[in-house]
Amino acid sequence: MAQFNLYQEEFHPSPIMHIWLEFKRSHFALVGFAILVLFCVIALISPFIAPYDPSLQNTNTLLLPPSWTSNGSIAHLFGTDTLGRDVFSRMLYASRTTFGASVLLVIIALLIGVALGSLAGMSKGVKSSILNHLLDSLLAIPTLLIAIIIVAILGTGLINSMLAIILALIPQFVHQTRNFVREEMKKDYILLDRLDGASSLRIFWHSVLPSMFELLAIQSTIALSVAIIDISALGFLNLGAQGDVIELGAALSQSLEAAYVAPWLVAIPGMCIFLMVLSVNIVGEGLRSALRNRLNH
């Protein structure tokens, strides 16, 4: 089917628009993107749309099954838990915590990692090499293990677990950024920038960073899926969110005791985590193939 062009002029998009157009071609990736956007929206507005207060205990409606089963009622969409709290509201707040915390910590890890990696990539010499190889050796250890060790040192709690995961994610960003910046610096157009009199900071900001967006986007999606799983895992192990902070992993571990009686209490948080990670991975995969293919069209 020929393309119908209403306008005579050529359409010349910027590289980022190109990526978006290419990304849109895959319907699978768009579905993943929609789910991701849904979670972002939930993270932002869940306090306003939750029908009940998540910590409101109602002894009249203990262990109510979800509304789609025969015993459930529409008043509680996903049913209630062992203390009569509405599962739907709890899920909204928990998704907000898990997703929001993950996004925040990925952003922080990215900023620190990229800064360190770029400094290392732009400077030469043995010192930068040693620091990087030390950090690279951390890449061999699973992030969850590193996070647990740091939590053991710092103590439990949501903030501490976030700190732990940030520290565990930084080496990946440093490694990728350093390699990329080092390759870029060897290129001819950087030489021409230097001859024009550009300082290293200027070269980094104007010439290297624009090419780095793609790499960072892909790295961030990978880091985000790792962060979501790690936060939930720490919550599950009771090393993360404590007390009345509602979090998906913590909710999962609390529901384990009643698993045989009320399986929905385990299934629904599990589904939320699953959907979050799935959507992030699908979007990441879509981005990667968009970047590979964008120059073909």
């Binding site: 010349h12 157009y189 021409l192 001859l195 104007h206 090419s211």
Partner: protein, 265 residues
């Protein structure tokens, strides 16, 4: 004819450290002595590894020579005077995948050059960029184009625009026509000849393509292992080469040309 560029006793030692334990290999460039007149083209030829690219970098300030003087239009260029150095001697590189930054627009590349070297305000910069784009045969709209939207010839014109935008006195070009198709090459050669005539630029040009060298250069310099082994007017060097290396280079090219004329009968 006024001497635009005079190079005296330039020496640069390039240390290449292969591994941590072996002694570094030293490549010595020089002593280099030559002069280029206003509106004239000097071609530098030689085998790969004879130091031509190093010479180009030393002339534009990419590497610091240990010894020697570069006198541009009567004034001696000290290494710390980056400003004048940047403005008056500019470099054009071979067309390749990495000659132009693919993530930024042409306009922002040229804008950066102006911001770093002149004190023009935004409106003036924009006008100057447009003027330069037209001078090299591109359109004003190319300001907003990215590298992937341009053909090889157009990308090479952008490189030329980047060199010309600071109104230099000398342009050093390292194999600018090497990776281009024949028709694009002819167009670029014509463009450079026109610009040279209009602006009176001195042009130093490194190349392997002896046919083009013979056509566009006024004088030729032959380099081997970092030293200049022969130099002189193009016709002189091509018709009466005195050194063996020069002889080999020239005869290998003209062998092919002779065979061509044999075919014509």
């Amino acid at each position: 004819m006024t001497v635009m560029l005079l190079v005296k006793d330039l020496i640069y030692r390039h240390q290449v450290k292969r591994t941590l334990f072996t002694k570094p290999e030293c490549f010595e460039l020089g002593p280099i002595n030559f002069e280029v007149y206003r509106g004239q083209t000097l071609a530098v030829i030689g085998h790969n590894g004879s130091g031509k690219t190093l010479l180009a970098k030393a002339l534009v300030g990419g590497v610091t020579p240990q010894q020697g003087e570069i006198i541009l239009d009567g004034e001696s260029l000290a290494q710390n005077e980056r400003q004048t150095r940047n403005q008056d001697i500019r470099l054009i590189l071979q067309h390749s995948k990495n000659a132009l930054n693919p993530a930024v627009t042409i306009g922002s590349i040229l804008n950066q050059t102006l911001v770093l070297n002149t004190s023009l305000d935004e409106k003036d910069r924009y006008a100057k960029i447009e003027q330069t784009l037209v001078k090299v045969g591109l359109l004003r709209e190319h300001y907003f184009f990215y590298k992937h939207m341009l053909s090889d010839g157009q990308q090479q014109r952008v490189a030329l625009a980047r060199a010309l935008i600071l109104d230099p006195k000398v342009i050093v070009a390292d194999e600018p026509f090497a990776a281009l198709d024949p028709s694009v090459r002819s167009q670029t050669v014509n463009l450079i000849l026109d610009i040279q005539q209009d602006l009176g630029l001195a042009f130093i040009y490194i190349s392997q393509n002896l046919g083009i060298v013979r056509h566009i250069s006024d004088s030729v310099m032959v380099m081997d292992k970092g030293k200049i082994i022969e130099s002189g007017a193009t016709n002189e060097v091509f018709c009466h080469p005195s050194k063996e290396v020069t002889e080999k280079l020239i005869s290998s090219h003209f062998n092919l040309v002779d065979k061509h004329f044999e075919q014509l009968g």
